[in-house]
Amino acid sequence: MIITTITRALKRWVQAVQEFTFLLVDSLRYGFTRPRYLVDTLMQMDVIGFGSLPIVLLIGFFTGGVLALQTYRTLTTFGEVGLMGEVVALTLVLELGPVLTALMMAGRNSTGIASEIGSMVVSEQVDAMRALGTDPLRKLVIPRLFATVVTLPLLTILADFCGMAGGYLVSYFTVRLTTEEYWTSAYQSLTFQDVTQGLLKPFIFAILISLVGCYQGLHTTGGTEGVGRATTQAMVVASVLIVVVDFFITKFLIAIGFY
């Protein structure tokens, strides 16, 4: 009985991985072929990207601020308060900026995508779409994928900048660092590799966020209750994947000497 349950669960998991991989491959394969839904893509950019702007900027700003407050104690111990800009900039650009922005996007957009597409599935709108000659992959998935891939790196850059601004305000008013000290330290610490790494991660996170939402939405079963379940699953899976994939990207980049 227990073995059967475990086997069934494993089969379901393997099947989910397989289907997710197909979704990813097909999205990339058909993403650049006709018919293209440019208007839908632009609308999704507005919803996913512009709509997430306030929350992402707010989170970025306060993350930078609290980072400065917390590192101040440690840096004081070593008498290296002048490195505040460097610590805040590196931490934000390499890790906190991409990961926190992606988590915010997962919370806001992966769930939004899953619930929207899930509702369409349970109300048979996706079947109707197919019956009317439209491929849901092209109409629903690819516009959301492209919109997230374009907007998440841009949002991450803005979140990084707001974080550094937050760190600067704390450093200026609390630590009494000068503007030049903070920004020179921050600017000089960032290398080409750091910035590249900081922009590579959101690109991959964007694929995960959008496709997890689409996958969960398209596989919704069980009416409105199923939509709720798909939404929760999208949030959980996307968040876990972001953190796990972040670790492996970092590990990989360090292994190939890209730092």
């Binding site: 509702s119 048979e124 079947d127 109707a128």
Partner: protein, 310 residues
Amino acid sequence: MVNSEPGRGLTIHYSLFTISLTPNPEPLIPNPVSRVPSPESCMSAVPAIELRNVSLSFESKRVLTNVSFVLGAGETLILLGETGSGKSVLLKLMLGLLKPDGGQVLIEGQDLVPLSEARLQPLRQRMGIVFQEGALFDSLSVFDNVAYRLREEHLGDEAAIERRVREVLRFVEMEPAIEKMPSELSGGMRRRVAIARTIVSNPSIMLYDSPTGGLDPVTSFTINVLIAKLRDMQHVTSVVVTQRLQDAYELANYVFSAEKQTLVPLPQGSPATSRPPTRFLMLRDGGVYFDGSEQEFVHSPDPYLRKYLA
């Protein structure tokens, strides 16, 4: 109008559509007097829909077992059965929205089981489905819902599309609601808009999934009038899933009168050839339990059918 040769129906429908996009369009919903082909012309050697030993399971649950039937062009199939007997699944199989585990699904002679999603599209253009709740796109207005297929297939400019959309909305008596959103419509209005969205590209086969489910008798009647109107004016092959026997009897024994714009009963003792070609098919436990005419269905001594009819 309905062509039995695989691949030709599409061309004919598109040529009809082209006519409607000219400055003085011939109405696409044809004039009942001048455009009605004889029922004999609709009957052809190649069936509109044929299922051969179709079986389907969802995980370990068997949904359909060796379902077979043949439906000629212009015929109407009334699909009956208890809830969960696989009626809606059968409709989705006919459109290729689901693939069977075994068997063949032939639409106008072409098996759609081995076809990819892209190659299914030309077949789907000849078919239309009205889902249980209408399945209108929530984010689009009535106009945009009905125009959806025309825009997707780039059939004509916006002015031509608007003319065509108004034409089909007039056909289902929903033109005044053209600017409304689906959330502003009642259940019956949603079904009528769904029918309009489906017939906008002149399909030769219409599938209806419980089109009157959850509607009051008056609204149900208006939906049946529309189904019969399409059947009698355009000789569209129809598959109607229903739980209401009254709908089945109405469709089997009434015809659409263009003069009165409603259903009228067939005269007593009218010959079988003048009756709308209607078949009854009942599913039970995933298999075909009954397949025959209305008279055979009504007079069957089978205890289960008697209980169903009671």
